[in-house]
Structure formats: structure tokens, C-alpha cells
Amino acid sequence: MNDYTLGYICGILAVLLIAVVIRLIFRKKKMDCKEGFDERQLFERGNAYKLGFTTFMIEFAIYILYTLGDFGYEIPVEPAALASIALFIPVTIFCVYAVRHDAFMGYNATGKSFYWLYILAFVLNIIPGIMSICDGSIIENGVLTLHSTNLIVAIMFGGILLALYVKNKEDKEEE
């Protein structure tokens, strides 16, 4: 196991730990101030989950077909990077759908904390992403490597931020 893989695993574990801590804090807050989603938002979130899950299934169905068939073409992506892409596409679809249908944040949430959290996540990922483009580690021997993960995550957060910005603008015009 090389240093990068070890760092990657540590990064995933750190993100999971932070997510659990944030979840626990939110759960406590929820009890205190009744913050949550209303019935329409829960319905739309259900649709968003359905869409994300369907996308995930389609991706894997395509991959199974690809591995079964002999197309004489190698996907120029490392398996771990391919799995990352397959994971982040449905997540992005879920988030963008939820944002578009006003179901991303609870009805009491102001949205400012979300913005800053997502901007921070975008910046923290775009910097190593650009660095890996500059040092050429993102593509080795014509194959997209695991080093592309930061860039993929940055694109995901960028997409969500853009959706939040557009939705916010539309809402202001509507009011």
C-alpha cells in the first residue's frame, strides 16, 4: 500500500467521522428547534433518492455489459477512479434534483451555513485537483488515476453550488 492510497483511506475515514459528528449535532439541534423537512420536501427527496439510485443501477448495468462483451476497448480509467466517478454522479444528481425542488435544506435552514460548507469543500478539493493536473499525476500512461478524485469531488461540489446559486436567484425573482 503506497502513501497516496493510505492517505486516500484516511481521508475517507476522516470525512465519515466528520459526517457522523455533524449528523449527531444536527440531530440534537432538530430536537431543540424542530428543524426539518416538510411533507412536500420529503416527497421530493424521495424522488431525488429514486433518481440517484436509478442512475447508479444504470451505470452498473452498463459496466456489466461492458465487462461481458468483448469490445476490444479498454476504459482509460483506473478501477478505483471509475468507482469514485460511479459514486459521485448519482450523489450529484440527488443533490441537484433536491436543490431544484427546494428539498435540499430544511424549511428552517437559512442556507448560509450550507454555502460556506460547500465552498470550503470545493476549495479544499479543487486545489489538490489542480496540483495533480500540474504535476501530471492525474493521467499516467493515458489512464485516469485515483489522483483525479479531488477534481471529481470539486466538480461535484461546484455543480451543487451552481445549482444552489441559480435556485436562490430564481427564488428571489419569484418573491
Partner: protein, 64 residues
């Protein structure tokens, strides 16, 4: 189908969508979706809206 009766009842009470949303515990967009006819609320939410606007279910939701 648009629900103009909620809109007019809300206007009669001089309430904004935001104020009604806060009164019944939903998002402003949910009230907007109900008024536009994009979302059918549950009976629980219908009753909450009726109470907030001092109207009956028939007044706001019954279609002839």
C-alpha cells in the same frame, strides 16, 4: 389546477406566503406549489392551512 382561494384568503388576512408557511410549519415554496396546483397537500397540512386562514376545508379545498 391553481388554488386561487388560498391565495385570496391569504391576501384577505394580509399574509405573505412566507408568513403562512411559518404559521403552518412548511417552506414558502410548499405554499407556492399548493397555490400553483403543483402539489396536493395531505389532509393534515390542509387543516393547518385552514386554521391559519380561519377558513373551512370546503372554503379552500372543495371543488364543485
Amino acid at each position: 389546477m391553481k388554488n386561487l382561494r388560498i391565495k385570496s384568503a391569504r391576501a384577505a388576512k394580509d399574509m405573505s406566503q412566507e408568513a403562512l408557511a411559518q404559521a403552518v410549519g412548511v417552506s414558502r415554496q410548499t405554499i407556492n406549489a399548493i397555490e400553483k396546483g403543483d402539489y396536493n397537500p395531505t389532509i393534515k397540512l390542509c387543516l393547518a392551512i385552514c386554521r391559519a386562514l380561519d377558513k373551512t376545508l370546503d372554503d379552500l379545498f372543495w371543488e364543485e
